[in-house]
Symmetry: C2
Subunit: 190 residues, 2 copies
C-alpha cells in the first residue's frame, strides 16, 4: 500500500495571541479571513504585520488565524539569516527559550520575548488515515519527494487528530531543496 | 567503510567569460583573488556584479574565478523566485536553453541570452578517492546529512578528476533544508 500525502509548502507566517492582535491592530480588532487553509478552521488572514530583526525586516508577514494562546513566528532558515535571528527547529507551540522579535502593525508595535521558530517538518493525519496506515501520533517518519531534486526527509513528525486533514507541511527551504510545490505528492517510506 | 565527504555550501555566485569581464569591468581588466575555494585553482574574487531580474535584483553577486568560456549565474530556487526567473536544475556548463539575465558592473552592463541555472547537487572526487570507493564519474549517489533536519539527498552527481578535491557542493536551499553548514560531514549511502 502506497502511503501518499499531499505536500503543503509553508511560507513565512505568524500566529498572534488575542493580546498582540489588539496591540498591533487596535482594541477589539478581529482578523478577517482571506482564504481557508488545509487544516479545518485555519485560515490565512487579510492582515499582515512587519517583522523587524537585527539585520533586516520583512514588511508583510501573513497572519494565520484564528488567534492562538501564544504568538509564534515561523520562518525558514534562509529568512532567519536574512533578518539576523537564530531560531531553533521546533514543533508548533513549543517556543520556550526561542528568540524574540519586534512586530509592527498599523496600530502599534510589540517586541515578543520568545516565539521565533523554524517549524519542524510534520504531517497532519486524520485519525482514520493514521489507523489505516498504522501510524502513531508523534512517530517520526521518512518521506520521499520525487523529481530531479528528489530527496528523503527524515524526522518527519506525525501529528494525529480528528481535527486534522491529511497534509505534509514543509517550509520553503525544504520545498526548494526538493524542487517541490504545493499539491505535489510525497510518499511515506516504511 | 564509511564514505564521508565534507560539505561545501554554495551561495549564489557567477562565473564570467573574458568578454563579459571586459564589458562589466573595463578593457583589459583581470579579476583579483579574495580567497581560494576547495577546488584547486578556483577562487572567490574581490569583484561582484549586480544581477537584475524581472521582479528583483541582487546588488552584489560574488564572482568566482578564473574566467570561464561561458558566463553562468548559479542561484538557489529561493533566489530565483525573488528575482523572477525560472532556471532549471543543471550541471555546471550545461546552459543550453536556460534563461538569460541582466548584469551590471562598474564599467558597463550586459544582458546574457542564457546562463542562469540552479546547480545540480554534486560531489567532486579526486580520481584516487573515487577509485578507493568504487565510484564512477557521472554516477548518481544517495548522500545522508544528519541532525534534527536530517535528510537523504538523491541524484547527487559524482564528478571525478585528477584536478578535484573531495567536496560535496549543495546550494543554500539544500543546506538550510538539512540544517547543514560549510564543513559538515555527509555520508554516501550504498
Amino acid at each position: 500500500m502506497m502511503k501518499q500525502v499531499p505536500v503543503g509548502v509553508s511560507a513565512r507566517h505568524i500566529h498572534l495571541s488575542p493580546e498582540h492582535i489588539e496591540i498591533l491592530f487596535g482594541e477589539g480588532y478581529a482578523l478577517t479571513e482571506m482564504k481557508p487553509l488545509s487544516q479545518p478552521g485555519q485560515y490565512a488572514a487579510n492582515e499582515t504585520v512587519a517583522v523587524i530583526g537585527p539585520k533586516g525586516e520583512f514588511g508583510k508577514v501573513r497572519i494565520l488565524g484564528p488567534a492562538r494562546k501564544q504568538t509564534q513566528l515561523e520562518i525558514s532558515r534562509t529568512d532567519a539569516f536574512a533578518i539576523g535571528v537564530k531560531p531553533p527547529v521546533r514543533e508548533s507551540g513549543n517556543i520556550e527559550g526561542t528568540p524574540g522579535i519586534q512586530l509592527k502593525g498599523p496600530a502599534g508595535e510589540v517586541t515578543i520575548e520568545q516565539g521565533v521558530i523554524v517549524a519542524a517538518r510534520h504531517i497532519h493525519f486524520h485519525t482514520s488515515d493514521a489507523e489505516q496506515w498504522g501510524i502513531q501520533d508523534k512517530q517520526e517518519l521518512k518521506v520521499q519527494l520525487g523529481g530531479d531534486r528528489g530527496l528523503v526527509l527524515e524526522h518527519v513528525i506525525a501529528r494525529v487528530s480528528d481535527d486534522f486533514a491529511l497534509d505534509m507541511h514543509i517550509d520553503t527551504d525544504e520545498a526548494n531543496a526538493a524542487g517541490a510545490s504545493n499539491g505535489d505528492i510525497a510518499t511515506i517510506l516504511d
